[in-house]
Symmetry: C2
Subunit: 410 residues, 2 copies
């Protein structure tokens, strides 16, 4: 991949992603495959005036060893420094970036029970840290960089070198980084469209959304009262506008945790803890999954649903046009960051407090009272199709078409 | 390099290096170039019964950015978590390993003043952590893995791929890892020889050592009373025997910080903070450097000597036969771990408390009273040559030959 395009991508992550302020500290968690790109981001961040850039490299192979060899007691231990290395800086106004390079199958053979134990321990210990992203207290973003193994999954018919290049091309296309055009301007213009779409959805204040398609989905999703649609850029508590996801194509809000009924059939695989779950569905009653099955990865799915009492309820409903750039790439990326932006999706687990008016200032109990789900997990799965229809109930019995044949008609 | 030899090297680091105990935690700090080897070490450690293996990857490119962009105030900050991530575990009985892959020139263009500021801040904050290695409170070891840039420095006349292989070959030879022989047994046998040599040196209880050679060295090194020679394996406070350096060829003890006189001329370059210092000498009076010069890197040397008031005095004197494996390799490794084992050497800065009878239990003040140097730095430099003569004063006026023509004659 051309150095100049990579550098433009790194600059996009710093400027449109976290939108780093002068003298701000940037915390980066980077997968070990991204060293070269991470160094570019660090350079761009300092050039943009960063006070300090701290990088933690993550090696999924070591995580695999952890699940293979560590006993349950050790997996349950989260040390203070493991939290403080983020929390200390976030409290002082730092922003954070996650640079991923997925190995979708890395943890495939690991014991789902052990992974769940670790996920729960880390989830509980990181609650305060996660607020900074979930409630957008700090600017944060997530970007992805190819690796050969991932490229081989996305482009299985190509020789390794070509596949890697194809994945770079596909990613840069999805994030609107192209020769001769400043991606910061493209992102600015696209964000204006997002904000218009969001304003319209908010003005309707839908009580319920009804999803139907030929795959078997027939799902009624109640929304919380005074819900707020989000998407594109957000504004952190320091009033700095940032883009949490690169790429992004979705608008989303908070379902009511007790008011989801019917059946949803996934349209794309879900990668959870490095495991691929394929061809699965959920049936909801009173907001909770009451039945589910999967052709592949059922056990992992079961562990996920059993994480806590809120992990069977929804925390996000998101609308993505079927003609979005990522959808049109025709690629299955095996990675939520991309695949969720190719398709309408839902998330099991926690909702974003920002999706409720005044939600950021509310306690956990207040949020729950309003119907906002609070859980240790937040796992997206895709159910959008080319023939997805979505209607919104604007007043009792009055239904407004939102999607027809997979795209916005509102 | 053959996978089987690499795995044997990784096993050596775990078994002969830290000599990991069942259910012990291993802390690894690994340079970013060593990912593949580090994974092997992690695997070997878990196979040997590790409770937990924690890896921190270090990227020297990011360190370079830190010196280039951070202001002095930021460089002076060391956060609690940066200490706790080692100290918490060491206090609970963990052992630690450093896996290096040197880039001898990486920090060449960095501001020596900024590097000194950071080194001082980290040195002061890490005092308690460093005791675990300096005083052998925990088992610890350091091993090295090639990278292309380093290989090109050691073998400048070879094409990159060949140079990398040559460096692997050279390293494995120096650490006695070879096809068909268990290196653990080789290390065991060699260590028995070390312990005999140490016993003999200790029995003489020399008051001073006198070094002379044709390069211009004429140095009188007073030793502390009740000094102890070390070398080869050591025994940690948990009574586990371990090898702190892989490779190792030296026996060493503590000079008296106020009783060094004369001139020492370096016989090999010194790499300090990624800078190469060449053709340098020191003149000592009453134990302190009173004059010095270098053909290359004089400024870095000056910063190093100015670190604190003890950084101009000696903390180590080490004897290495000129016919040792590393010396015979004929390679200049540009890395202390190897080059110090090719040649007699001295270190400026802190001495090892273990080199004084009962020293490990003494306070800093007690150690200083006995003549043990205490400093923020410990920097080895080489001065051994093929014609080095060393004599030891066993009683006032009685001199015993220790080295003649670069090798032991004791």
């Amino acid at each position: 991949m051309k150095q100049s395009l990579c550098a433009a991508y790194a600059r996009l992550a710093v400027k449109s992603g976290v939108n780093l302020s002068e003298q701000q500290t940037l915390l980066i968690s980077a997968d070990i495959d991204t060293v070269e790109f991470t160094r570019m981001v660090v350079e761009q961040a300092y050039e943009a005036g960063a006070r300090e850039v701290l990088v933690t490299y993550i090696d999924s192979e070591l995580e695999r060893c952890q699940y293979r060899y560590q006993d349950e007691e050790t997996l349950r231990e989260v040390h203070d420094w493991q939290i403080d290395k983020q929390l200390d800086y976030l409290k002082k106004g730092a922003c954070c970036m996650r640079i991923i390079s997925p190995h979708p199958n890395a943890l495939k053979d690991c014991d789902p029970k052990k992974m769940a134990i670790r996920a729960r321990a880390v989830g509980e210990a990181s609650k305060e840290v996660q607020e900074y992203t979930l409630a957008s207290k700090a600017q944060w973003t997530i970007v992805a960089v190819p690796n050969p193994e991932w490229a081989a999954m996305v482009f299985p018919d190509q020789v390794p070198e070509k596949a890697l290049e194809s994945l770079w091309d596909a990613i840069l296309k999805c994030v609107y980084v192209e020769e001769g055009i400043d991606p910061l301007i493209t992102w600015q213009q696209r964000d204006e469209l997002f904000q218009q779409r969001i304003a319209k959805l908010n003005s309707y204040a839908f009580q319920r959304l009804h999803f139907t398609n030929s795959l078997g989905t027939d799902l009624m999703v109640g929304l919380v009262n005074r819900h707020v649609w989000g998407g594109g850029s957000e504004v952190a508590q320091n009033n700095v506008r940032f883009n949490p996801n690169i790429p992004t194509e979705e608008v989303f809000t908070a379902p009511h945790k007790d008011r989801v009924e019917g059946r949803v059939v996934a349209s794309r695989p879900l990668i959870y803890n490095g495991n691929v779950i394929r061809n699965f569905y959920f049936t909801f009653s009173h907001g909770k999954v009451c039945e589910f099955d999967a052709e592949e990865g059922r056990e992992v799915l079961a562990e996920m649903l059993a994480m806590d009492e809120a992990s069977t309820a929804l925390g996000e409903v998101a609308l993505v046009p079927y003609d979005s750039a990522i959808s049109q790439s025709g690629c299955l990326f095996y990675t939520t960051l991309f695949d969720e932006n190719a398709s309408c999706h839902l998330a099991l687990g926690s909702a974003y407090p920002a999706c409720l008016e005044g939600g950021i200032a509310m306690s956990e109990e207040e949020l729950k009272d309003k119907g906002i789900n609070v859980s240790l997990i937040h796992v997206d799965f895709m159910f959008g199709t080319a023939d997805m229809d979505v209607k919104g109930e604007s007043a009792p019995g009055t239904w407004v078409p939102i999607f027809q044949n997979g795209n916005f008609v509102l």
